[in-house]
């Protein structure tokens, strides 16, 4: 109801009730004159008297929040006459259920990727070990034939002994909080650590903390040790063979070359010496056999 002179317009509540809107009107701050529809919804659901009763039962500091919720509830009831806010709550519960199911599915998928990654790394590890053993076989076969092993093979023997330590250091420098352990099942790649930092899990509603774990790929040094052992065994088997040939000079020279340096030049010199020594002896004996006069 508009006052005379039109200085102050009545609130929507007083306008609807066709009464004078006094300055102490409880509903005036919350139902301005231009929000007639909002007031109608609130009046339809609660009624003016009930709204005033609710406000009077509350502290003045709570009036704003209470009116906000009352208007929201009334608007929802206007839009959804049958279920009102209960329907909204049910829909939110449904959303939460869907999100939790999706989260479960994604976590399962993450677990699949983790296992696939673990399997891949194991395969790569086996391939690498196979490569080492095959190269070791090549070196041994070359030694049997009296040939100088290739350059890149010799450092391999050094790599074999140091490989486990390198791999351990690699994993320790990655995003892992827990140190690598001997038991493979207890090793874990803590992705949980990453997104627990970004999402504060402090609410009591979160009953199932999301722990994403994957097994740490501990370098299994046993295959490498087997390879080393196998290489040593092969090396021991070569000894009797060389002894039967009695080419000790060549073997010793070759071993010296291995111990001192891996340069091709030193090996070549050794080879030339071997050939030179053998040749001169044979020639002399041959000459002694076939010539009537002594060579000397």
């Amino acid at each position: 109801m508009t006052l005379k002179g039109g200085a102050t317009s009545a609130c929507a509540a007083c306008k609807y009730q066709r009464r004078k809107c006094i300055p102490e009107c409880l509903l005036a701050p919350y139902f301005p004159a231009d929000q007639t529809k909002v007031f109608q919804n609130a009046h339809k659901l609660f009624g003016v008297s009930n709204i005033v009763k609710i406000l009077r039962s509350l502290d003045p500091s709570q009036h704003a929040e209470a009116m906000r919720s009352i208007k929201y509830q009334a608007n929802v009831r206007d839009r959804f006459p049958v279920y009102g806010c209960l329907g909204v709550i049910r829909q939110l519960y449904y959303q939460i259920q869907m999100l939790e199911e999706e989260m479960h599915t994604v976590l399962t998928q993450l677990e699949m990727y983790r296992q696939h990654h673990h399997h891949q790394q194991q395969q790569q590890q086996h391939q690498h070990q196979h490569q080492i053993s095959s190269m070791a076989d090549d070196v041994i076969s070359q030694l049997e034939l009296g040939m100088a092993p290739s350059n890149n093979a010799l450092p391999l023997f050094n790599q074999v002994t140091h490989q486990p330590y390198t791999m351990q250091n690699t994993y320790s420098s990655s995003d892992i909080d827990s140190p690598p352990k001997d038991n493979v099942e207890n090793n874990s790649l803590w992705i949980q650590h990453l997104f627990f930092d970004t999402n504060n899990h402090g609410t009591s509603n979160n009953d199932s903390p999301i722990a994403i774990q994957s097994q740490l790929l501990v370098p299994n040094s046993e295959p490498l040790a087997d390879t080393q052992h196998q290489v040593v065994q092969d090396y021991d088997e070569i000894h009797p063979f060389f002894d039967s040939i009695d080419d000790r000079q060549s073997y010793i020279d070759t071993k010296d070359a291995e111990d001192s340096s891996s340069s091709e030049e030193s090996l070549k010199e050794t080879t030339q010496l071997m050939v030179g020594n053998v040749g001169s002896k044979d020639l002399k004996s041959a000459a002694a056999c076939f010539s009537l006069t002594s060579v000397n």
């Binding site: 009624g47 509350l58 209470a66 608007n75 009102g84 709550i89 939460i96 997104f195 609410t203």
Partner: protein, 163 residues
């Protein structure tokens, strides 16, 4: 299930509370059985009997029981929490939805990072797509079912409908 058997000897909870004769065509009788007096007391205290009667008559007969039950729920919530009523539960649930969505986004990011960094994408299936929950610019939640879209924000300045 609305009580189908109604007798004038046994007034419904509404008529009993209002101390009036319960007529055969009493609008409250099917939904406020005498065994549940508190249900009508709560509804009457918050909404008023006349408002409830009007609301019941506005909906289809097969939906009236659901409408009354939802009113009873809202009335009980308002009595327990006079400031927020059932809207407090809505706010909590919306926050939970937001939190779950953020967590899901983080997990998706980790999954994509993990999959692209370590695995061959041709060998593994692509990461699963997200359930589509929309957000408007103000951060209010819209629901997948358009029927349950958040109510309008009032006619004017103040938001009469949004949280």
């Amino acid at each position: 299930m609305a009580s189908s058997s109604h007798s004038s000897n046994f007034p419904c909870a509404a008529c009993k509370f209002l101390r009036r004769k319960c007529m055969p065509d009493c609008v409250f009788a099917p939904y406020f059985p005498p065994e549940e007096p508190q249900k009508f007391i709560n509804v009457h205290k918050i909404f008023g009997a006349s408002n409830v009667s009007k609301l019941i008559n506005e909906v289809a007969p097969h939906q009236r029981e659901d409408a009354v039950n939802s009113l009873a729920y809202e009335a009980e919530a308002r009595l327990k929490d006079p400031v927020y009523g059932c809207v407090g539960a809505i706010s909590i649930l919306q926050r939970q939805v937001l939190r779950l969505q953020r967590e899901l986004d983080a997990i998706h990011a980790d999954l994509i990072r993990y999959a692209t960094a370590t695995c061959n994408c041709n060998e593994m299936p692509p990461p699963m797509g997200r359930t589509c929950f929309h957000h408007n610019s103000s951060g209010n939640i819209y629901y997948p079912n358009p029927q349950w879209n958040e109510p309008y924000e009032g006619n004017g300045r103040s938001d009469g409908g949004s949280l």
